[in-house]
């Protein structure tokens, strides 16, 4: 291919373009990583629930914060939803004191041991009914707080302070942008509502397992799929559209920049293109050379951006208080493919230009 030969002979010029592609790809990859990272912060703990659907009080507008369920409702949802298994779960935001004494907040999730609401313990042990003063905490909690399994931590809520012992570690992630902490539902009731009587709510939401549960409802409750529940976490939809917009701009600018670069290159080569056409090359033949160059340059640019992103991610994760950023193979693949596609689309401008060149210019008609 003449196009590839040109890249080989004009390495510096094309390397510069590839560098621009690398920087744009890097930017878009980082934005995508931030999007995934923010989403995890927003509620990976919810995503990790061992449930297919989540039931809320129908007055809560699918807000975990505002949903409250009575014992009677919990019993009815278990039956009326037709779920194969179900479990109540309580939520509460509360403060705790870090190792150094500073106050931080965490998302407290309350469950009954032995139900589907129980998290997986990766270190230490599971809570039992006797662990009224026991906590399971997320990895990230340990990292931020400087505490360890076996340590005592002071929790404060409603002007009450109470000491807990960390008995186990979980890896369920965050909830509402805070590390998740698990405790017994009975303890949660006391902490959140103070005096407990028959009228005290017993849970915030219900986790449901089974098929076709999303969209079911009954008197006083409604259930939605886990992904709907996730999308309804306060701040998630706004955050997602922000990230989507950034991402779209990234792709757009990427395509545009490459398009403009190759458009300028094409303009500079009008004379050469005229010569090629004069000796019988079709516009398609010439355009193919341009496309091969765009493909080669954008692939090279993306190929450099991926390890760069990967290294950046590693550096970030090593920081004591890392920026929420996360990557999956999927992010890398879709981002790369989309960027290369956008580059090809951007190159279409050059295609029009190539088609417009009149081969007669090769004769230097205007002397």
């Amino acid at each position: 291919m003449i196009g590839l030969l040109e890249i080989r002979r004009r390495k510096f010029q094309f390397a510069l373009i590839a560098l621009i592609v690398t920087l744009i790809s890097y930017l878009v990859l980082m934005i995508n990583g931030l999007g995934v990272g923010l989403n995890e912060q927003a509620g990976s703990a919810l995503r990790n629930f061992d449930a297919d659907a989540i039931a809320y009080s129908d007055k809560a507008g699918l807000s975990v914060i505002r949903s409250e369920l009575s014992q009677e409702q919990v019993d009815r949802i278990a039956v009326e939803s037709g779920a194969e298994a179900s479990a109540p779960l309580g939520y509460m935001a509360a403060n705790y004191r870090k190792d150094g004494g500073e106050i931080e907040s965490a998302a407290f999730l309350a469950f009954d041991p032995g139900t589907i609401a129980a998290p997986k313990v990766v270190e230490g042990r599971m809570l039992t009914e006797e662990d009224g003063d026991g906590l399971l905490v997320d990895k990230s909690f340990l990292r931020y707080s400087g505490l360890a399994v076996g340590d005592t931590v002071t929790i404060s809520v409603r002007l009450v302070e109470r000491d807990f012992r960390i008995v186990g570690e979980t890896n369920e992630g965050a909830f509402f942008f805070q590390p998740s902490v698990y405790l017994l539902r009975s303890t949660w009731q006391e902490l959140k509502y103070g005096t407990v009587d028959a009228a005290t709510p017993v849970a915030s939401i219900m986790l449901l397992q089974g098929n076709g549960l999303a969209g079911t409802s009954g008197p006083g409750w409604e259930a939605v799929s886990k992904s709907t529940a996730f999308a309804n976490i306060e701040g998630v939809s706004g955050q997602q559209s922000t990230v989507q917009a950034l991402r779209a701009f990234g792709y757009l600018i990427g395509g545009l920049v490459i398009g403009v670069f190759f458009y300028v290159l094409t303009l500079q080569k009008i004379g050469q293109i005229g010569m090629l056409k004069a000796v019988g090359a079709s516009s398609f033949f010439v355009f193919r050379q341009v496309m091969v160059q765009v493909l080669g340059i954008s692939l090279a640019g993306v190929a450099v951006a991926i390890p760069l992103t990967w290294l950046t991610n590693r550096a970030i994760q090593q920081a004591p208080n890392p920026v929420p950023i996360a990557f999956t193979n999927g992010t890398f693949i879709t981002t790369s493919v989309l960027l290369v596609l956008m580059a090809m689309v951007g190159a279409m401008f050059s295609g029009r230009q190539v088609a417009k060149v009149d081969p007669i210019i090769a004769l230097g008609q205007q002397q």
Binding site: E6, R9, M275, V279, G280, A362, L363, G364
Partner: protein, 232 residues
């Protein structure tokens, strides 16, 4: 292989209405097989326009062009491109090589376009370079070649597709006269030894004298002069 060209009552008008320019007016001439013809005339007399029509780069306003009996005047754009690809070899004014390619690669551009870029094409390119005295410059990038070398590469490129017609427009415009003469001599030799038809536009009478026949143009009109006997 012998090639004949017949041009009959050929006219080309650019634009229309008041701004119409009659660049070629009722031109007629025929060539003998294997002839090398020079077209001379002052600037603006229509030489390039005539060459472009014969070479399938311009569609005549009226008249006929036949190459070996085949009509060229009525081709559509796609057919013109195929005709140029298969039957025409062009030598343009200097510096129409691809600057980032070597001499050999510039010749191979043609075989890439025709889709026959194999070992045979490479051998053909090397042979043409040898005939043109460029063997030791085959791997030099076009920008490293001298003006004369570049123009000889351009001659080689024009012969790559084994054309019927070799069309040349002001081949020595960028060369001094000694070098220009060498280039034109080797061009004529290459064209004639292959029995092809050569048509060279020039404003340089010294170069034109090297041809078998000189056609003179004035205001789009033709007159034939000199060396008429050579055409039989």
């Amino acid at each position: 292989m012998s090639v004949t060209l017949r041009v009959h009552d050929l006219s080309k008008t650019y634009g229309n209405g008041e701004r119409a320019v009659q660049a070629v007016r009722h031109a007629s001439f025929s060539t003998e097989p294997g002839e090398f013809v020079a077209v001379v005339g002052p600037s603006g007399s229509g030489k390039t326009t005539l060459l472009a029509m014969v070479g399938g780069l311009l569609t005549p306003t009226s008249g006929a062009i036949e190459v070996n009996g085949r009509d060229i005047a009525g081709l559509n754009a796609g057919q013109q491109a195929a005709y140029r690809r298969e039957s025409v070899g062009y030598v343009f004014q200097a510096n129409n090589l691809l600057p980032f390619l070597t001499a050999r690669e510039n010749l191979q551009v043609i075989s890439r376009i025709t889709g026959a870029n194999g070992r045979a094409a490479r051998q053909r390119a090397d042979q043409l370079l040898e005939e043109l005295g460029l063997t030791n410059r085959a791997n030099a990038v076009a920008t490293e070649l001298s003006g004369g070398e570049r123009q000889r590469v351009a001659i080689g490129r024009a012969l790559m597709n084994d054309p019927e017609l070799v069309l040349v427009d002001e081949p020595t415009a960028s060369l001094d006269s000694a070098r220009g003469r060498q280039v034109v001599e080797s061009l004529i030799q290459e064209v004639k030894s292959r029995g092809k038809l050569g048509l060279m536009v020039t404003h340089d009478m010294a170069m034109a004298e090297l041809a078998d026949r000189i056609i003179e143009m004035h205001d789009g009109k033709l007159s034939v002069r000199g060396k008429l006997a050579a055409s039989g």
